[in-house]
Subunit: 391 residues, 2 copies
């Protein structure tokens, strides 16, 4: 698929040698005019330096350049980490002759290593000079860590002139309840205020990045940043059809990106959706879905094609949500395995577990709360990849 | 080590063919006189039939026989599951000519399969007829599932006549915060009321079985049952030296058993203790310790010998407990890796991670709350074992 970039954004990538020599590991995204910005960040209390800087700068509602790197998270690096990141962003602002508060850093990689500032500064010269020479695909590639494929997609809304929304993200292991080790930048040429954009983005993130889990860990660096530079001159205002359409399209784009992340879960062989309905509240539904989606025993059973729905109901039981055993229904791939009692249909399930996509449906029959979470199975490869991540 | 049984208890084992033919899978423990009983059970809301029966019967404070089986958990089996278990316990009571309310069932194995009652009833005849022919070791073997070694130990308190406490348990995968897939029976010939015994047992369980975690899952069948038959005629009363000694010895015994469980964690190659101190409360310390101990990324790093303390601090950060990054200290095997900032001593750690025992110490420097949790690393073998548990 050819990726269409929204108007007014330029890209460049470079090899800074942050962790490995000779790979593209740094990218610059530049908007010709200052853009409106909205964002969401990790809820981990240990936040990386770039996250702290973004959280501060985003209060202005304005952004013009994003500098993204892989190989080093610049997390747990104290004051020095902040200073290092600021050295880089200040230098970029100077080179681009823009407001230095409009430059946002995004980092991913190993925790607790100082940022190799000198090497990065050298790369910045190249990035600024070559702006416009790279495509979004190359940006997506530059921010990959254990990702096995670049993740990006776009949507267009047909209006007087088309409005384009582009999403670029990365994320593989450590993907969990709240957007872990996930960097995502969404760029649009729509004209929309940062407040309105934040509203749309909040919903989109809740239904996408915050509904996926790979290993339950939550990173120090998660960031979703969305920029709207208005180049299309199509204005989006509340309570219009366009506003409704914009929200839908944005959510749809975020769901597509988050599914890519799950599909690229480290060592994953299966894509699993866990739907909980009949919960008293949405909150309850989410707790149950997460307990099931994060259960190692459920994940390994799915990997092995073992029709062990007992592990699903055990996870429901320890989720902390009040349930009634006799009311619970469990379906896997539309096969009812438990309806107050076992249905003894496991042999049917066994065949169907060979599919690459697995749907788990749990009905608590207690109310109207419901949710769907996407996750993966857990394979030996997950262990192999994560036990050797740095060594 | 020769295992000493407390006076007045008899044991037998049989091959009921519950899951596999030709293996000892059922055991009977009988006390010559009715014993005082105390117990703790899974906090999973989905409780197996035998757990429900035990929870009801324990209110009387009395027990005289325990029937334990592996291969079938009798969980999620509805009314039929209860009826099946009662058929077995009633039959045992009849055969032993004891109060039927004094017979307690304990089951472990697959969830959601009906108990093969006929086969079990046949085995019961043999169990009753051969009471006294088995040793505690054989009971420990009969209740093993994926355990690779039988787990039992004993303690003696020297008094006028010795008081003996024997512990027999099983548990491998699914061992988590609250005693998951863990069956434990503790037998003593001390004379002690069930209330007093419950007090001692509560403390002992908190410091042992409830402080271990293998995969974070919690089972439907966890049971700790303690019987005191008074055969030693040594009476234990509150506020005596003996009471103090009894508590200490019981806790010590439970810690030894729980360490055995962790060492036998499915696919485990390392024994890991996670100590958190300087937390505002014990509760906080436990939350942080559990987040670290259950983190897949921490567990796989330890397996791979990767000195990746960044994953430890990330888990601290998402534990939900308020922390201050600049105050946190992290030590692994006494090597300080983080004290507000990285210490860059990872190369030293690398060598020390080759040990089979790993100690993680986290000081939050915010208060006096502390705790220690025992866990394991996570290996490819864990995945292999659990993806093929039943198939």
């Amino acid at each position: 698929m050819d990726i269409v970039s929204p108007d007014g954004f330029l890209y460049s990538v470079a090899k800074a040698g942050i962790k490995y020599p000779d790979r593209y590991d740094i990218a610059l995204i530049y908007s010709k005019r200052p853009a409106q910005v909205a964002g969401f960040f990790t809820t981990n209390q240990i936040k990386a330096a770039p996250v702290k800087i973004c959280m501060k700068r985003i209060r202005s509602g304005q952004a013009q350049a994003l500098i993204l790197n892989s190989g080093n998270a610049n997390a747990c690096t104290g004051k020095k980490g902040i200073e290092d990141a600021l050295k880089v962003t200040d230098y970029i602002a100077e080179k681009l002759a823009i407001n230095k508060e409009y430059v946002y850093p995004l980092s991913t990689g190993v925790i607790g290593m100082p940022l190799p500032v000198e090497r990065i500064m050298k790369a910045v010269d190249e990035l600024v000079n070559s702006l416009g020479n790279a495509q979004p695909l190359q940006v997506a590639e530059a921010i990959m860590t254990t990702d096995t494929f670049p993740k990006l997609t776009y949507r267009q809304i047909e209006t007087a002139s088309p409005v384009t929304i582009l999403g670029i993200c990365k994320g593989a292991g450590m993907i969990c309840p709240n957007m872990a080790t996930m960097l995502c930048t969404i760029l649009t040429d729509a004209k929309i205020s940062s407040d309105l954009m934040k509203e749309a983005l909040r919903d989109a993130v809740a239904q996408s990045f915050n509904s996926i889990t790979v290993d339950g860990d939550m990173s120090t660096n998660d960031t979703v940043l969305m920029l709207a530079n208005g180049e299309s001159e199509i204005k989006i205002e509340r309570k219009t059809n366009l506003w409704k359409q914009f929200r839908e399209v944005l959510t749809d784009l975020c769901i597509e990106l988050s599914k890519m992340i799950v599909k690229d879960g480290e060592g994953a062989t299966k894509f699993v959706s866990v739907t909980v309905k009949g919960a008293k509240t949405t909150q309850d539904a989410r707790r149950v879905a997460r307990a099931v989606a994060n259960s190692l025993l459920v994940k390994t059973a799915l990997y092995g094609g073992d029709p062990n729905w007992g592990r699903v109901i055990a996870a429901v039981g320890y989720s902390g949500v009040p349930v009634k055993e006799e009311k619970i229904e469990i379906y896997i791939n539309d096969i009812c395995l438990f309806r107050g009692l076992p249905t003894m249909r496991e042999d049917e399930l066994k065949e169907s577990l060979k599919q690459r996509e697995i749907e788990i449906l749990i009905n608590l029959n207690l109310g109207k709360g419901h949710t769907t979470i996407f996750t993966t199975d857990l394979s030996e490869d997950y262990v192999r990849i994560n036990s050797a991540y740095r060594t």
